[in-house]
């Protein structure tokens, strides 16, 4: 089994990336490829579902920092959801929760796209 698998779907005009595994220097290229693939297809509305993401290190954060400007320049967004505690801690500690909107669940993120309650950045990790 691969150490990182990314499954992509389209829902409500957003590209949803399901990350399964861990993101570090060994696997970051696979992660970057999946994000870049969305941008190449002009999908600037991206939700990363972290339900099966064990952890992310600085190289993974670098991928997100590398694309956020292009996404914002194209009126898009990069949301994250379903973070476990370890993943949330790294985003929160570095202040990335001010740059990337974080939702407890994918449903909440989708709901915010549809004009529902905006509960972004309320996540505290799923433990």
């Amino acid at each position: 089994m691969a150490e990182l698998q990314v499954h992509a779907t389209q829902k409500d005009e957003a590209r949803i990336l399901y990350i399964d595994g861990f993101i570090n220097a060994h696997t970051v290229q696979e992660f970057e490829k999946s994000v870049q693939s969305a941008l190449e297809e002009k999908n600037f509305r991206i939700l990363i579902n972290c339900k099966d993401l064990q952890y992310i290190n600085s190289s993974g954060l670098g991928v997100l920092m590398g694309v956020i400007e292009e996404i914002q320049d194209n009126d898009g967004f990069l949301y994250l959801s379903n973070m476990n505690e370890t993943v949330f801690n790294i985003f929160d500690t570095l202040g990335f929760t001010h740059l990337f909107k974080v939702f407890d669940t994918e449903e909440e993120a989708i709901s915010s796209l549809q004009g529902g309650a905006d509960s972004g950045n309320s996540a505290q990790g799923e433990g």
């Binding site: 670098g62 370890t86 801690n89 570095l94 433990g127």
Partner: protein
Amino acid sequence: MTDQQKGNIMVTFPSQNQYVHMITMVASNAASIAGFDKSVAGKVAIATDEAVTNVIKHAYGGKPNHTITFKVEITPESLVIKIIHTGAALSKKSIVLPDMKKYIEERRRGGLGLLIMNQFMDEVDYQEGKQHCCQMTKYRKSTKTEQK
């Protein structure tokens, strides 16, 4: 504190990124065995990942034919992680940790590894010698406020 919460672990592995996850998991499990909660074990894992990745990338310049020794010491007071190598030493004087407010404002990329290690561990030290060592310590009575 019981006798089961003391112990030493040592692993020597090649300077290749494919081994980093295994070491990260050893560090996380050692933290759990030492009695730290899941949140702290996750932080120890990430700090270890960053430290080992730095050694592979910077100390050994990405060359895969070197070795790294990873040690964990579980003591009554703390968990001590040591990453030992013979590559280029990191001078403590050369370390400048990024200001995250500016970092985010300027959309910078890279250079967060040392900051993460400092944020997630209580102490990070770099020792130069015949072999160089990055030593990271997490105390049972942490000097840092733990989040959930």
